[in-house]
Subunit: 382 residues, 2 copies
């Protein structure tokens, strides 16, 4: 017996018949973002290595490569597998990892793709080097420097030198450059304040590059930057490679930033939800809650009726596991029973963890489903 | 080419070698919770219909049925599919739904299991009745009454009567009782305050039952209650059936409640994480963040070293996508580099949406992996 839920959508379906909750991509907005970032990187002469943790989909990675990206970033080794399996030829794991199981994954990946990884401790360099040598693979290594986030990464030039020396001592490892990413400053709302913060992070990265130069070590790659700071990172003269991810989608958090510079992004990612109850005045309930929307960066800041794309008078005000509470702040006495069955587009507050809740993107153009893309790295956090 | 991440664990593996992040079940604690709730329901003469939205696993549902549960609840129709496929003979979808696709799912499920569903609008009764009649299946229907949560459910006896009449007019539907659940009061911390709140919800449910009685309609089932209130619901004389879910696992939120009554629960659910970086004094970074821990009800409130089960001096203080920041509040100058590679057990703040991030439970007893259970309803929110 194969008893399984029917598909949420098929190519050609009208958008109004897509099962809910579903994760939707507005292809026109998505493609505008895709090509705008590629053109931006080309214009500034920096390599583009988009972060696949945002979309977790080899279909999307292929489109990024096709429009000029040099490869992708992943945040975890497990996450890199579907991209390696799909033939993405260059993958950077922009994060530290530890343990024999993880070294074995890195070695396996390195036999299928050009793999680079981050380190910030000598023990990991040695363990990885030994594992790679035994397997006969070569792995590029980029020590991470703490660019101001105070999370991972070395905090002194001496610590960086020690890593570079440890890498040099391993035949199977190759020093390729440094990772310098500051996640926190991506979300500074004010454009000028963000510019200043990005400049400070770039200055830290530059000082590490100079220290290496002074020691006769050439730093071919300085990789980092995210959607919030790429504009400044590209102009810094420090970064050779940019790692933005969320630019494809936007979300409530990034959408709320001040975008005064040359870059503009469109919201392309939405959760489609159905109003499924409305028994009290001034409110209604929709069918997406904590299991279909990440709420760490806030609730959906708007709600758009799918049938005419008008802004709804109902706001998403709280999330239970599978319920979204909607309130009409300005119409507390109105009866919304007639809205039951209507579908809403909800832009997630935070795209990355919302994407990680779904198995596929339902891509639409105009009023119809145009494509279905698997989220093949969904849940791959090891 | 089949390139995929290796399994996180195999039965018999030492716990210290399990890949991270993984979702762990302490089987001794789990079984204690499983049998305690079964014994409690039997002692009080109420039916136990645990909520499968908490665990999303047909392996666990089978164990609940084997220890006396009359069936399970699901919160969505899609979620019910793996349970129906696994042979669970009675499934209650404790939620409203709307649309032809959802009615088709209900009809398909009803041909494989005894299905009951909730309604709070006449239009849904008619649409479901028509779909069921066309398919030749019978569906039990339990109108939801608003027991004080002000979410879904009718708000007057007249509205309930109208639903009962609409159900009676459908040959393929059968009025089976009422759903009366108040999610908010499950989490009232103080035991006496929770008891009072549960009593108020039960009073509302009782008044609907009396109204139906006075109209000559027998209400065979009054279903509701959760982990926080079952003790009061069972004693109320109103509820015939209880729907707890989180009791199997506990979580940071439920664990923080005052449990002054006859029920005690053990934490059985943990996220296993590895410390993967520690480059600054007083802090470290572990490998689980927003994609492996739901944070809507707070961060992990404790951290336990897996090797000796001692409480860690490091507290989980913030989550990025794939990083967990750990701080030693009382040791701001200590260097934790020697802890890199060590594994921590982290109890999630909210079990339901955390479970929904994983594809399997790694079940352990003592120091070894004892079983692997698929989370076969993971992500099924339609």
């Amino acid at each position: 017996m194969t008893l399984a839920p029917p598909p949420a959508a098929r190519v050609g379906d009208p958008l109004t018949s897509v099962g809910t909750p579903s994760l939707l991509i507005d292809l026109d907005a998505f493609n505008a973002n895709l090509t705008a970032m590629s053109a931006f990187a080309a214009r500034h002469g920096v390599a583009l290595r988009p972060h696949a943790k945002a979309h977790k989909s080899s279909e999307i990675a292929r489109r990024q490569i096709a429009t000029g990206a040099v490869g992708v970033c992943c945040q975890k080794l497990a996450e890199a597998y579907p991209f390696a399996a799909a033939g993405i030829a260059s993958i950077h794991v922009s994060n530290e990892f530890v343990g024999a199981d993880k070294q074995a994954m890195a070695v396996e990946l390195a036999s299928h793709t050009r793999l680079s990884v981050c380190v910030d401790a000598i023990a990991q360099v040695r363990a990885l080097g030994d594992a790679a040598a035994r397997a006969g693979v070569t792995i590029d290594v980029l020590p991470e420097v703490d660019a101001g986030q105070h999370r991972c990464g070395v905090t002194s030039a001496d610590a960086l030198f020690a890593l570079v020396d440890a890498i040099a001592a391993q035949d199977a490892l190759r020093f390729a450059g440094i990772q310098a990413y500051h996640g926190g400053i991506q979300h500074v709302a004010d454009w000028n304040a963000r510019k200043i913060a990005a400049g400070q992070a770039a200055d830290i990265a530059a000082s590490y590059v100079r220290s290496l130069d002074a020691r006769g070590v050439h730093c071919a790659i300085v990789t980092g930057g995210g959607t919030g700071t790429v504009e400044f990172d590209a102009a810094s003269g420090v970064y050779t490679e940019l790692q933005p991810g969320s630019y494809l989608f936007m979300d409530g958090d990034y959408g709320g930033l001040d975008w005064s510079g040359e870059l503009r992004w469109r919201h392309s990612l939405f959760v489609l939800s159905t109003v499924m109850s409305a028994t009290r005045p001034g409110m209604a309930v929709c069918d997406v809650g904590l299991k279909g929307l990440a709420v760490d960066s806030g609730l959906p800041r708007s709600a758009i009726w799918i049938d005419d794309r008008s802004e709804s008078e109902l706001s998403y005000v709280s999330a239970n596991d599978e319920h979204g509470m909607l309130r009409a702040q300005n119409k507390p006495q109105e009866d919304f029973a007639a809205r039951v069955g209507k579908r809403l587009l909800l832009p997630p507050g935070h795209c990355d963890p919302t994407v990680n809740l779904y198995d596929e993107y339902v891509c639409y153009r105009g009023e119809h489903v145009a494509d279905i893309w698997p989220i093949d790295a969904r849940g791959m956090s090891r």
